[in-house]
C-alpha cells in the first residue's frame, strides 16, 4: 500500500503533446477515478503510471520512490485491462499465479494467495478452466483476481467494466468497490462513464483534452463544478446554460457574482411548481415531453433563447406539447461561470 503522486506529468507523441501537465496526489488506500470524454488522455495517464508508456516530463512517485524510469514489473502495481488480457492457454489458476511465479514466490505462498483471491471473488470452481471457457463476468473476476493475488501497492483499472452488459456492470461495480474497501489498496480507475465515476470514487479527477478540469469528491464535483466543462460533463441530463443578462428581472440574482456572465442550472433544479421562499421564474414553452419511468424529461425553449433546455421532474405531468410553462429555480441552485475563462465565478 502506498500513495501515488503525479507531479506536472506531461506526455508527447512526437511533436504533439497530449497530456499537458497533470498533478494528482492519491492518498494511501484512496480510490481515485479518472473520468473524461473519449480521447482526453485517461488511458495514456494510467499507462504512464503503470510504466507501459514513458513519461515525457514530470515526476511520478509510488510511495516514496520516483518510478519514472522503472519497468512496470518493478513498480509494484497491478493492472486490470479493458479486454481482461488473460493468458488464453493457461488455466485460471495459472493466470493468477503467473505474476507470483515470475517473482519467485514459494509454491505454498502462491497456492495460499490464489485460494484466498479465488474465494474472495467466488471463482474457486473455475480454477482449472481456461479463460475461453468462462463468461465475460467470470473473466472479469479472473482479471481482478490476477491483480489481487499480487497484493500490490496500487491497482490500476482501465475501463474494466465496459465489455459487460448493463446489469452485470452494476453488479461488478459494487463488487469492485466492496473489494477495494476490504483490501484497502490505493486504486486509480479510468472510465468515461460518469455514473461509474460518481459511485466508485473517493475522489474524482475530471480530465479534458489532457488537462485536469477538477479534482474533488463526487459531491464536490457534482454540487460545485469548477468549470463549464465539468458542469456539462457530470450529471445527466447535462446542466442547462443560461446567460445572466437573460435572467435579470426574473428574480433575485444577489448570489451570482458580478463577474459571471453565464449560469448553469441542473435539470432537477427547474421546478414546475413555485417553491416557497425566494426564487426566479423563467417563462418557457414545452417542446417535447419524454416519460422515463418514474420521472419525465421535458425539453423546453426558454422565451427569447435559442438553445433548448431540459427539465427533469418526478412523475408524469399532464402537459401537452406547446404548453406554456413557468419554471422556477431557487437562487442557491444557480452555478455562476465566466464564459471567457470557462471557470466558476
Amino acid at each position: 500500500m502506498a500513495t501515488v503522486t503525479l507531479q506536472d506529468i506531461r506526455k508527447s507523441y512526437g511533436p504533439t503533446e497530449v497530456i499537458h501537465g497533470v498533478s494528482i496526489d492519491i492518498a494511501d488506500g484512496e480510490f481515485v477515478v479518472l473520468v473524461g470524454p473519449s480521447g482526453c488522455g485517461k488511458s495514456t495517464l494510467l499507462r504512464m503510471v503503470a510504466g507501459l508508456e514513458s513519461v515525457t516530463s514530470g515526476t511520478l512517485r509510488i510511495g516514496e520512490r520516483v518510478v519514472n524510469d522503472l519497468e512496470p514489473a518493478e513498480r509494484d502495481i497491478a493492472m486490470v485491462f479493458q479486454n481482461y488480457a488473460l493468458y488464453p492457454h493457461m488455466s485460471v489458476r495459472n493466470n493468477l499465479a503467473y505474476g507470483l511465479k515470475n517473482r519467485g514466490f514459494a509454491r505454498a505462498e502462491i497456492d495460499r494467495r490464489v485460494a484466498e483471491a479465488a474465494a474472495m471473488l467466488e471463482i474457486a470452481p473455475y480454477l482449472d478452466r481456461k479463460p475461453g471457457q468462462l463468461s465475460g463476468g467470470q473473466r472479469q473476476r479472473v482479471a481482478m483476481g490476477r491483480a489481487l493475488v499480487r497484493e500490490p501497492a496500487a491497482f490500476l483499472f482501465d475501463e474494466p467494466l465496459s465489455n459487460l452488459d448493463a446489469k452485470l456492470r452494476i453488479q461488478m461495480r459494487v463488487e469492485i468497490r466492496r473489494l477495494q474497501r476490504r483490501v484497502g489498496t490505493t486504486s486509480l480507475y479510468v472510465t468515461h462513464d460518469q455514473i461509474e465515476a460518481l459511485t466508485l470514487a473517493d475522489r474524482l479527477v475530471v480530465l479534458n483534452g489532457g488537462v485536469v478540469e477538477q479534482i474533488g469528491t463526487p459531491e464536490e464535483v457534482f454540487d460545485r463544478p469548477a468549470t463549464i466543462f465539468v458542469a456539462g460533463f457530470i450529471g445527466t441530463p447535462p446542466m442547462n446554460m443560461v446567460p445572466v443578462d437573460w435572467l435579470r428581472g426574473k428574480g433575485e440574482l444577489d448570489a451570482v457574482p458580478a463577474a459571471a456572465d453565464v449560469v448553469g442550472i441542473r435539470p432537477d433544479d427547474l421546478d414546475l411548481e413555485a417553491p416557497p421562499g425566494s426564487h426566479l421564474t423563467l417563462p418557457a414553452t414545452l417542446e417535447l415531453l419524454e416519460p422515463a419511468g418514474a420521472e419525465s424529461h421535458l425539453y423546453v425553449r426558454l422565451d427569447g433563447l435559442d438553445q433548448p433546455a431540459t427539465v427533469r421532474t418526478q412523475g408524469r405531468p399532464a402537459l401537452a406539447d406547446g404548453a406554456r410553462l413557468a419554471l422556477h429555480v431557487r437562487p442557491e441552485a444557480l452555478h455562476p461561470f465566466v464564459k471567457a475563462t470557462g471557470r466558476r465565478a
Binding site: 485491462f81 479486454n83 488464453p88 503467473y98 505474476g99 515470475n102 475461453g132 490476477r146
Partner: protein
C-alpha cells in the same frame, strides 16, 4: 443452427457423390497399392508381366534385405541408413526453419531496433530467390567450407525460411498488445514472454508448419543431389533415383519398390500424428 444443405443432398445425390469420391480415391491409391504389391514379389516375378494384383510371399525377404543388407547399385548402402539420413535431414530442416523463423519474427514484431524494417524487407526479398536461383553460389560456399557430403551441407542452406518468418509475423501481429502488457506487469521479461506465452500460443502454427516443412525436407531433390557424392550420405529420394538403371535387368526392381514404400511411410506418419496435435491445438487455444 440447421445443417447446411448441400447441392444434391438427396439420397441419389449422396450416392453419386460417394461414387465419385471412391473412384477418385481408387485412382489415386492404385499406383501406391501397385508399388506395395510389387515390393512383396521376387525380381523374377516383377520382370515377367503381368504383375499379380495381390501381395506375394517374398515381402519379408525383400524388406529385410533392403533394410538390413546393402543394395549393390548404391554401393551396398542399406535402406535403413537412407531412412536415417533423410529423417535426420528433414527433421533438422523443419526444426531449424521453425526456430529461426519464430525468433526472427519475434524480433521483428515485438522489438524496436534500428533498421528493423530494413531487415524485414531483406527477409521478404529472399522470397523471390528460390533455391534454384542461388544454387551455384551456395554450392561454392559449401565446397569452400568443406561441407560436401556432410549433414551440415545438406541442412544449412535450406534452413532459412522467409515464408515461415512471414507466417509467424502475421500470427504475432494478431496477438493483442494488452497480452504483452499484462505479461510485462506480471514481471515476464522478453525470454519468459516468448517461452511462457508466445510459444504455447503458437503451438498450432508450429505443428502445421512442422508437417509442411518436414515433407519439404523429405522430398528435397536438387540440393541433396548436388551436395552429396558419397552413397552413404544420400537421402532416400536420391538413392532411389540412383538405383534405377537404364537397363531393366540391372535394376533391383523389388528393392526399388521396397524403398518407395519406405520412402512414403514417414511423411504419412508425420501427417497423421501431427494432425491430431493441431486439431487439439485448434480446439483449445483462442486469443
Amino acid at each position: 443452427m440447421a445443417e447446411p444443405t448441400m447441392v444434391g443432398a438427396g439420397r441419389s445425390g449422396q450416392a453419386a457423390a460417394h461414387l465419385i469420391l471412391v473412384l477418385g480415391a481408387v485412382v489415386i491409391a492404385f499406383p501406391i497399392w501397385y508399388v506395395f504389391v510389387a515390393s512383396t514379389h521376387s525380381l523374377q516375378t516383377i520382370l515377367r508381366p503381368p504383375l499379380p494384383m495381390l501381395p506375394g510371399s517374398e515381402g519379408i525377404a525383400n524388406y529385410s534385405e533392403a533394410l538390413g543388407g546393402g543394395i549393390n547399385r548404391i554401393g551396398g548402402v542399406s535402406v535403413g541408413r537412407l531412412l536415417w539420413n533423410t529423417a535426420f535431414v528433414a527433421t533438422a530442416i523443419a526444426v531449424g526453419k521453425i526456430l529461426i523463423s519464430i525468433t526472427s519474427a519475434y524480433a521483428i514484431v515485438f522489438f524496436r531496433f534500428p533498421l528493423r524494417m530494413v531487415f524485414f524487407w531483406l527477409i521478404f526479398i529472399t522470397l523471390m530467390l528460390p533455391v534454384e536461383v542461388r544454387i551455384l553460389p551456395t554450392y561454392k560456399v559449401m565446397v569452400d567450407l568443406g561441407l560436401i557430403d556432410t549433414y551440415a551441407g545438406l541442412i544449412l542452406p535450406l534452413i532459412a525460411s522467409a515464408t515461415a518468418t512471414l507466417l509467424f509475423r502475421q500470427f504475432f501481429m494478431t496477438i493483442p498488445n494488452e497480452l504483452l502488457e499484462a505479461a510485462r506487469v506480471d514481471g515476464a521479461g522478453p525470454w519468459r514472454f516468448f517461452k511462457d506465452i508466445l510459444l504455447p500460443l503458437s503451438a498450432t502454427n508450429i505443428a502445421a508448419l512442422f508437417v509442411i516443412l518436414f515433407i519439404y525436407g523429405w522430398t528435397q531433390y536438387l540440393w541433396p543431389l548436388l551436395v552429396t557424392n558419397s552413397n552413404s550420405m544420400n537421402t532416400i529420394v536420391i538413392a532411389l533415383r540412383k538405383m534405377i538403371s537404364f537397363a531393366d535387368a540391372d535394376t533391383p526392381w523389388h528393392l526399388v519398390m521396397v524403398t518407395c514404400v519406405l520412402a512414403i511411410l514417414p511423411p504419412i506418419l508425420v501427417v497423421v500424428l501431427m494432425q491430431r496435435w493441431f486439431v487439439k491445438g485448434l480446439v483449445e487455444t483462442e486469443k
